[in-house]
Structure formats: structure tokens, C-alpha cells
């Protein structure tokens, strides 16, 4: 039997938010726009637009974390804070082994099931 639902599977993504009243970009989603005080309605999404956070980023700082718990099949994980070209910033994992502050990286989003509960989407900057 063919599971046709697989054709609906979309690549995982993480969304940024744009306030259509003033144009300000946000991540993660606020309830009130910091620039114009417009309210976001999480149900209707009216007057707000979402867009996938993707593309080139600059690495602002990073760390290599050791002693991971069971569930992680790696010796360490690298994390960093990055800035997208649109000025938004995000925290996420790094997919390079020798990071340097200031280096240019690209954005990938993958599904993670290491922690208990439903799988979640995580950034991997590489």
C-alpha cells in the first residue's frame, strides 16, 4: 500500500513574522509589535505575515556543549547566535566543526526528536 500522505510532506521550516501595519520583522512571534504596537492575533494572523527564516547568516557567538544526555548520539553539540541578512537574529545549532565568530553560514532547518515529546524544528547553521 502506498501512503499518499508522504506527498504532502513539506521541508521543515521556522517562521519569522512581519507586522503589515509598519513592516517590522520579528522572531520569535511577539503579541505586540515593538515598533508600532499593533496586536498579533495568533488565531487569524490578520495584518501579520509569516515567512520562512532562511538564507545566509553571520555567526555572532558560539559554544561547544559537552556531556550530552542519552538520546543524543554525538559527543558534543555546537550552538550559536546568528544574524540574518534582514537583521533578525536567532539561536540554533551549528553544523560546522570549527566555528569562528563573524563567519558566514547558511541556514538549514531539520526535525529533532532528541527531547521527549513531539519532534520540533531546529535551526542548523552550516
Amino acid at each position: 500500500m502506498i501512503d499518499f500522505s508522504m506527498y504532502d510532506v513539506k521541508a521543515p521550516e521556522i517562521l519569522g513574522y512581519k507586522c503589515l501595519t509598519c513592516g517590522a520583522l520579528h522572531y520569535p512571534a511577539p503579541m505586540i509589535c515593538s515598533k508600532c504596537s499593533s496586536r498579533r492575533d495568533p488565531v487569524t494572523g490578520k495584518r501579520w505575515e509569516t515567512f520562512p527564516l532562511e538564507g545566509p547568516v553571520t555567526l555572532l557567538t558560539w559554544t561547544r556543549v559537552w556531556n550530552l544526555p542519552e538520546g543524543y548520539n554525538v559527543k558534543y553539540l555546537l550552538f550559536g547566535i546568528v544574524e540574518f541578512e534582514n537583521g533578525l537574529r536567532a539561536s540554533g545549532r551549528l553544523g560546522v566543526d570549527e566555528p569562528r565568530t563573524g563567519m558566514k553560514l547558511n541556514t538549514r532547518v531539520e526535525e529533532s526528536d532528541e527531547r521527549p515529546g513531539k519532534p520540533v524544528n531546529v535551526f542548523v547553521f552550516e
Binding site: 522572531y27 559554544t63 556543549v65 539561536s91 529533532s112
Partner: protein, 399 residues
């Protein structure tokens, strides 16, 4: 006129591993010590209000409503009791709320008890539980923890100001020297700069946790409780107490962005700066008046950054003061004479109360031999919640 609120009783368990015990029992033990110290064990129903500080007993101990449990086992019913939760700054928040309760006139005597038992879980589970205070979608789900943010912050600080891993190790040596003399500290041993940094085997003893932070740059996972009795110094109930009160001169608190990445400059801890400014303003003093401080060194890099944000040192210069020994017990501005979170330990809900217990004991002149700050007038504590998104500063005075 602001209320004159004094501290007339302190209690503290030996921090460490209390995982075999019930959380409410551990808290009640420290609270009973505080009542005894205040001389009102038998008159405990004179307490008008109990505030309990705890971060996550629901997860750590599978136990909730600990305030109700605590008053009952201390035979204090029907005294009102509530829980105050503000992450790892719960303790100082409870002291702040107690101050507000007294200043409002709703209470004249308040018992504050902070406690946490974290070691019923494994070390990682405890780290994971603490990490639930991060932004769920944008931080926690990524696999980030508090040590991760400590590491990323440390890298920024060290790159910008030239602070080295050896400087961080010097703070650990100083904190352990102090903690080894503190009967309540989790880690009672000292360490040398040779063993944790200079020696060729140091990187094995002192391995990386979240680069550039190592084990000796990070606080242990600790259980424990601390308690205070606060009184309105101008109420008739003040006459109940024999010991001279240590006055709470200033209280300030502030918040910052939940996500660290949303701070314009991720090296600035605005909530610390603003909390400090508010506390100074209320006390009518400035950083130069502070005799010693208990700063929230969950990661030793935070001892540096907090000491700059509250104005003890210029930005990027605090580690130079550490090199010169200025922050040791006998230095010009002792920092973390208790051993700090690094050595004394960090039972998250207890820490803010424990810091104030240390302020009181130092100002009374009753700490253990060898770690008494000389003739202190003002002590300051900074209790740091989240990764700096909710901070409470308290200044105590010996009048």
C-alpha cells in the same frame, strides 16, 4: 517615607545533596532555624505572612503547593502562605514581595523561605528542567541550556575585553577558598590555580562544559534551603525581637528580553544594571558605598559581568581587579564571601534568600573565622533569573 524593614532572623541548611529528604521538610528546617534565630519559635503565630520561593518543585520533586505543606508541618496555621516563582531569582523576588507586604501595611512580620531539591533527578535532567525557563520555540527546542548561553556570553566577553580562561579559573579559586570556610557551602574543598588551569593535566581535571566555560566555571547542582524573618522596624511587633535588625535599604528589580538573541548588544545585561540602579536609588547610596557583594555566579563569567553592570568596575575591567585580588575576602571589594553559587551551590529557589542570609551574617559580624569582611556597612546581592531576563538586587545595611 519608605518603610523601615529589618531582618531579625536567618536560617540555612548545609547545601549539597538532600535528595533523600522531602522538600517541605528541608525548607521547614531552615525556616525553623530562622524562627529560633529571631527568638520567636514559640510565638511563631505572630508571623503575619509566609512567602515560599521555589522554582520548579513540580518537576524536580513531583510536588506542588509547597507553601501550604510548609506552614502545616511548622504548626503555623492559619498564617497565610503563598509561593513566589521567578526562576532562579525566586528567592530575591520573595524577599522583595515580603518587603512590599510590610511596606503596604498588610503584614508586620514575614517569614521568607527559599528552597529547591534538584538532585532527585540526574544532573542532565536538572539542567534540562532549568532550561524550561528559556523560550520554548526559539531556544529550548533548539537543545539550548543555560550553560550554552553562559558559554556564548563568555566567548563574547573574552573576545571583546581580553579576559582569559585563567582569569575565570582565578574566580573559581577565590570562590572555593571562601566556600571552604562556609559551614553551609556545598563544596567544602579548595582548589589551586595550578590544578585547574596551569598544570598540564588541568584540562582533564577541569574539562569543558560549554566552551569556553569549564567545570570550574560552572556551579554544581545543589539541594538546600534558606530562610529569613523580616519585620516592620516601626511596628509594635518589633519589640518581639532581641537581635538588632539588619535593615533592607534598597530593593530593585527589572526584566529584559526573553530571548537572548533579541538584545541589541547581547553582552549588556540591562536588567542587572536597572535593578542595581533602583536599589541604589532607594538606599540613597552608590556602588562606592558597598562593602561586599553576593553576585549570581552560576557561571563565573557572570560574576564579572554583574560586577560591572552594578557599577563596581568599568566595563571590561573587572577581571583585572580579580587578577589583583581586589575581590577576595581581604581585598578592597570582597565578592561572594560565601563562596557564591560556584562553591556554596545553587538550589535555584533558595539562592536569592541564601544570598541575603550571607549579607545579614556578614553585617552582624557572625560568619566563620577567616571569611569575615572587615567592618562592613552595606552588602549587596544580585539574583539573576533566566539568562538575565529577570533580576533582583537587594542592599542591606548595618545602621
Amino acid at each position: 517615607m519608605t518603610a523601615r524593614v529589618g531582618i531579625v532572623g536567618v536560617g540555612h541548611t548545609r547545601f549539597g545533596n538532600s535528595s533523600e529528604y522531602d522538600l517541605a521538610d528541608v525548607m521547614a528546617y531552615a525556616a525553623t532555624d530562622a524562627l529560633i534565630d529571631a527568638g520567636i519559635l514559640e510565638q511563631r503565630h505572630e508571623v503575619d505572612q509566609v512567602f515560599v520561593a521555589n522554582m520548579a518543585s513540580g518537576i524536580f520533586c513531583h510536588q506542588t503547593s509547597v507553601a501550604s505543606s510548609l506552614v502545616s508541618r511548622m504548626d503555623m496555621e492559619p498564617v497565610p502562605a503563598e509561593l513566589i516563582e521567578n526562576g532562579p531569582a525566586s528567592g530575591a523576588s520573595a524577599v522583595k514581595v515580603a518587603y512590599m507586604a510590610i511596606a503596604s501595611g498588610m503584614a508586620d512580620v514575614v517569614l521568607v523561605v527559599g528552597g529547591e531539591i534538584m538532585r532527585k533527578l540526574t544532573g542532565w535532567e536538572a539542567t534540562d528542567t532549568v532550561a524550561t525557563m528559556l523560550h520554548t520555540e526559539a531556544e529550548y527546542n533548539m537543545g539550548l541550556t543555560l550553560p550554552s548561553f553562559g558559554g556564548m556570553f563568555a566567548r563574547l566577553y573574552m573576545d571583546k575585553y581580553g579576559c582569559t580562561e585563567r582569569d575565570l579559573a582565578l574566580i573559581a579559586v577565590k570562590d572555593h577558598d571562601n566556600g571552604a570556610l562556609n559551614q553551609y557551602a556545598h563544596v567544602q574543598g579548595t582548589c589551586t590555580i595550578d590544578a585547574i588551569h596551569d598544570n598540564v593535566t588541568a584540562s582533564v581535571v577541569n574539562n569543558y562544559v560549554a566552551e569556553p566555560l569549564r567545570m570550574y566555571s560552572t556551579c554544581p547542582v545543589t539541594d538546600g534551603a534558606a530562610a529569613l524573618v523580616l519585620v516592620n522596624m516601626d511596628s509594635p511587633k518589633a519589640a518581639l525581637f532581641k537581635k538588632k535588625a539588619v535593615r533592607i535599604a534598597g530593593v530593585g528589580s527589572a526584566t529584559d528580553t526573553h530571548c537572548v538573541h533579541n538584545r541589541k548588544d547581547p553582552l549588556l545585561l540591562d536588567a542587572v544594571r536597572i535593578a542595581g540602579e533602583k536599589a541604589y536609588k532607594m538606599a540613597g547610596i552608590g556602588p562606592k558605598d558597598i562593602s561586599f557583594a553576593e553576585l549570581h555566579d552560576a557561571f563565573v563569567i557572570l560574576e564579572l559581568a554583574i560586577s560591572e553592570e552594578v557599577g563596581f568596575f568599568d566595563r571590561g575591567k573587572s577581571y583585572l581587579a580579580v587578577r589583583k585580588g581586589e575581590t577576595t575576602i581581604h581585598g578592597s571589594l570582597p565578592i561572594n564571601p560565601s563562596g557564591g553559587l560556584k562553591s556554596k551551590g545553587h538550589p535555584v529557589g533558595a539562592t536569592g534568600v541564601s544570598q541575603v542570609v550571607e549579607l545579614v551574617r556578614q553585617l552582624r559580624g557572625e560568619v566563620e573565622e577567616g571569611r569575615q569582611v572587615r567592618d562592613p556597612k552595606y552588602g549587596m546581592s544580585v539574583n539573576f533569573g533566566g539568562f538575565g531576563n529577570n533580576v533582583v538586587a537587594i542592599i542591606c545595611a548595618k545602621d
